[in-house]
C-alpha cells in the first residue's frame, strides 16, 4: 500500500492538452475518485500513474518515490480496465495466476495456488476458476478482473470506469461491494468515473476534472454542498442544479427581467454588497425549492407546471415562470399536474452564487 502524489503533471496529444498541470495527493488507503465528463483527461491521468503514458512534464510519486523512469511492469500498481481485459485464451484461473507468474515475482507453484484460492474466496469466484473467460457474465468478468488486480497486493489500485458496462441493478450492487471491499482490504484506490453517483457513494475524496484541469478536490459532502464553481455544481447532483443569470440590486437578487426577485439572507448581505451590478449566476439545488399548491410564504412566487418527471421516491417538477424553467424536487403526494398553478419558494440560505465571468464561487 502506498500514497500517490502527482506534481504538476502535464500531457498533451498533438494540439490537445489532455492533462493540464495537475497536482494531487492521495493518502495511503484512501478511496480517491477522479470524476469528470468524457474527454476530461481522467483516463490519461490514470495511465500516467500506471506508466502506460509518459508525461510531458511533472512527476508521479508512489510512496514518496518518483517512478517516472520506471516501466509499468516495475511500478507495482494494478489496473482494472473499463472492458475488463480478461485474456480470452486463458481460463479464469490462468488469468488470476498471470500476474503472479511474471519473472519479477519468482513465486513457487504452491504460493501461487494459495494466493489464487484466497482471492477467489474473498470475491466468491471459486466456482468460476475452471471456466473460459468468454462465457462469463458481465458481473463475473468484473469480479475476475478485480481479482487479477488484487492477487499480487499492489501499491495502488487504478480503476478505469470498471462499472460502466454493467446494467443498472448490477452496478448498484457492485458499488456497495467495492466500497465494502475497500473498507475490508484497506488498499489505496484511485477510481475514475464519469458517473457522479459512483463518485459520491464510494469516494473518500473526489477530484472533479474538466478539460484536463482539476476544478475541485474535496469530500463528497464538500463537493455537493459547497461547489467551487459552476461546472462542479452542475456536474454533481441529480437532478441537475438550477442555474440562473442574476444580478444584485439593492440587497435583492434579480433573476432574468425581474422574473424572480429574491431576498438575500442577512448574513450574506454585507459580503455580497461589492458585487452589485455584476453579472452573477445563482444556483439552487432542486431539493431546496419548496413547492405548495397554496401560497404559504410571503416570498413564494406563482408558477405553472410545465412537465413532471417521476423518480419514485420523489417527483421532479419542471416549473415555468415566464421564460424561466426551474426544477424542483417534491414528494409525490403533492400530486401536481401539467398546467397546474403552484407556488414555489427558494431556500436562499442554501443557494450558491457564482461570478458569471470566472464561473467561480463568491
Amino acid at each position: 500500500m502506498a500514497s500517490v502524489r502527482l506534481a504538476s503533471l502535464t500531457k498533451t496529444f498533438g494540439q490537445v492538452t489532455a492533462v493540464d498541470n495537475i497536482d494531487l495527493e492521495i493518502d495511503d488507503r484512501e478511496f480517491f475518485v477522479l470524476l469528470g465528463p468524457t474527454g476530461a483527461g481522467k483516463t490519461t491521468t490514470l495511465r500516467l500513474i500506471a506508466g502506460l503514458e509518459k508525461p510531458d512534464q511533472g512527476e508521479v510519486y508512489l510512496g514518496n518515490v518518483s517512478v517516472n523512469d520506471l516501466s509499468p511492469a516495475l511500478r507495482d500498481v494494478a489496473f482494472v480496465f473499463q472492458y475488463y481485459t480478461l485474456y480470452p485464451h486463458y481460463t479464469v484461473r490462468q488469468n488470476l495466476e498471470f500476474p503472479l507468474r511474471s519473472k519479477l515475482r519468482r513465486l513457487s507453484e504452491s504460493e501461487i495456488d494459495a494466493k489464487v484460492s484466497e482471492v477467489a474466496g474473498v470475491l466468491h469466484i471459486e466456482s468460476l476458476l475452471g471456466r473460459e473467460t468468454v462465457n462469463l457474465s458481465g458481473g463475473e468478468m468484473q469480479r475476475v478482473a478485480i481479482g487479477r488486480a488484487m492477487v499480487r497486493t499492489p501499491k495502488v489500485f487504478l480503476m478505469d470506469e470498471p462499472l460502466s458496462n454493467l446494467d443498472a441493478k448490477l452496478r448498484e450492487e457492485m458499488r456497495t461491494e467495492l466500497a465494502r471491499l475497500h473498507l475490508d482490504l484497506g488498499f489505496t484506490f484511485f477510481y475514475v468515473t464519469h458517473d457522479q453517483i459512483e463518485a459520491m457513494t464510494m469516494g473518500d475524496r473526489i477530484a472533479v476534472l474538466n478539460e484536463g484541469r482539476i476544478l475541485q478536490i474535496g469530500t463528497p459532502d464538500e463537493i455537493y454542498n459547497s461547489p467551487e464553481n459552476v461546472f462542479v455544481a452542475k456536474f454533481v447532483g441529480s437532478p441537475t442544479i438550477n442555474l440562473f443569470e442574476a444580478s444584485i440590486e439593492t440587497s435583492t437578487l434579480v433573476v432574468g427581467k425581474k422574473t424572480l426577485v429574491c431576498a438575500i439572507p442577512g448574513t450574506q448581505r454585507s459580503s455580497l454588497e461589492k458585487y452589485t451590478k455584476r453579472e452573477l449566476i445563482l444556483a439552487i439545488r432542486p431539493e431546496d425549492i419548496e413547492v405548495s399548491k397554496e401560497k404559504k410564504k410571503a416570498d413564494s412566487f406563482k408558477c405553472t407546471v410545465y412537465f413532471t418527471q417521476s423518480m419514485g421516491v420523489e417527483d421532479i417538477l419542471n416549473l415555468r415562470i415566464n421564460d424561466l424553467v426551474l426544477r424542483a424536487l417534491v414528494p409525490p403526494k403533492l400530486l401536481a399536474r401539467v398546467g397546474d398553478t403552484v407556488y414555489a419558494s427558494i431556500n436562499m440560505k442554501r443557494s450558491h452564487l457564482f461570478d458569471s465571468e470566472t464561473n467561480m464561487r463568491l
Partner: protein, 315 residues
C-alpha cells in the same frame, strides 16, 4: 395478406437459389472438364464430342509421374515379363504400348514446390508478424510513408523487377537454387503479410497488453504470451495466403529456375510438347497441382474469404 406476401417471398427465394446453383455449376465446368479428362482412358481422350460417362482410368496419372519409352513395333513382352510387371506398368502398357523407364520429373518438381513454399511461408509469417506488431503498436516516424513503401513493393509488376533480380541472382550465384526462390518469395509476400497482419493486430485491444505490462511483464513477453495467441487465426490465414501465392507463382520461378529448384508452374506448361500432346497427362498434372489449393480453400474458406477482402480493404 401477410401469408401471401410471405409465400411470394419464399418462391422468390427458391428461384434465386436455383439461379445461383446453375451459375455455380456453369462456373465450375472448366474444372469438371479437367477432372473428366484426367480420368479418361487413353483411347477416350481425343473423342469428339467428349463423353461424360466412361470407365475411369488412372493411366494419365501414371504417365505424368513417369518417364517411358515406346516398345519397338512388333516387339511384345513375353508372358513372363508381363507377370513381373508392376500394376502401373501393366496399365501403361495396355493403354499406350509403352514401357516405364523411371520416375518422371513431376515428383521432383512437386517436392521443390512444397519445400520452397513451406519455408518461405514460415519466414514470411514470422517477419510479417513482428513487423506488423511494430507498426501497429509503436509510433514510428514516417510510419505512413514506410507502410506505403512496404505496400508499393507489392504493386511492382514482377516482369519489371525480374531483369535486375535476374542479374543480381546471377552475380550472387542464386539462380536455380532453393534459397534464391525462397528469398524472393519472402520479399514479395512479406508486404502483403505485414498489411493483413497489421489489420488483425490492430483489432486486438491494446488494453490486454497494457494489463499484462502493469502485471509485471516486458513488451516481448507480452507480445509472445498475449498478442501471438490472440492473433493465431490471422497468422494462420496469412500463412495459407502466402503459401498459395508462392505455390501459384510463375514469372520468377520460370525465369530464375531451370532444373534443380524448378517448381511445378514453371515446368508443367512446357510438357505438352514433351508429352507429345498427351492431353490426359497434362490434365492429370493440372489436377494434381490444383487439388491442394482447392482443398485448402474449401477447408479454410471462412478465414480465406475474410483474408481476401480484408487484405484488399486495408490497402
Amino acid at each position: 395478406m401477410a401469408r401471401i406476401a410471405n409465400r411470394r417471398q419464399k418462391i422468390g427465394g427458391w428461384v434465386l437459389i436455383i439461379v445461383l446453383a446453375v451459375i455455380t455449376f456453369v462456373y465450375l465446368v472448366p474444372f469438371l472438364y479437367i477432372i473428366n479428362t484426367s480420368f479418361k482412358p487413353w483411347t477416350g481422350i481425343k473423342e469428339y464430342p467428349p463423353k461424360v460417362i466412361f470407365k475411369p482410368s488412372i493411366g494419365s496419372f501414371i504417365r505424368i509421374f513417369t518417364s517411358r519409352t515406346v516398345y519397338p513395333p512388333g516387339e511384345v513382352p513375353t508372358e513372363e515379363e508381363m507377370a513381373r510387371m508392376k500394376w502401373y506398368e501393366r496399365i501403361v502398357y495396355r493403354e499406350t504400348n509403352e514401357e516405364v523407364v523411371r520416375l518422371g520429373d513431376l515428383p521432383r518438381r512437386y517436392l521443390n514446390s512444397i519445400i520452397i513454399c513451406s519455408i518461405s511461408t514460415i519466414i514470411t509469417v514470422i517477419l510479417g508478424t513482428i513487423t506488423a506488431y511494430g507498426f501497429s503498436r509503436f509510433k514510428v516516424r514516417g510510419k505512413d510513408d514506410l507502410l506505403f513503401f512496404i505496400l508499393s513493393t507489392r504493386m511492382l509488376p514482377p516482369v519489371v523487377v525480374v531483369i535486375p533480380v535476374f542479374l543480381m541472382f546471377r552475380f550472387l550465384g542464386l539462380t536455380d537454387t532453393h534459397i534464391g526462390l525462397i528469398l524472393l518469395y519472402v520479399a514479395f509476400n512479406v508486404s502483403f503479410a505485414v498489411w493483413v497482419l497489421k489489420g488483425f493486430i490492430d483489432e486486438i485491444p491494446t488494453e490486454y497488453e497494457e494489463a499484462a505490462m502493469v502485471d509485471g511483464y516486458t513488451r516481448f513477453q507480452v507480445f509472445r504470451k498475449i498478442v501471438v495467441p490472440q492473433a493465431t487465426t490471422g497468422i494462420a490465414a496469412t500463412a495459407v495466403f502466402c503459401f498459395i501465392f508462392s505455390w501459384n507463382e510463375y514469372a520468377f520461378a520460370f525465369l530464375l529456375s531451370r532444373k534443380i529448384a524448378q517448381t511445378v508452374p514453371a515446368w508443367l506448361p512446357y510438357q505438352m510438347g514433351v508429352l507429345g500432346y498427351d492431353w490426359g497427362a497434362a490434365a492429370a498434372g493440372t489436377f494434381i497441382f490444383l487439388v491442394p489449393v482447392m482443398v485448402f480453400t474449401i477447408i479454410l474458406r471462412k478465414h480465406l474469404l475474410r483474408g481476401i477482402t480484408f487484405g484488399a480493404i486495408r490497402k
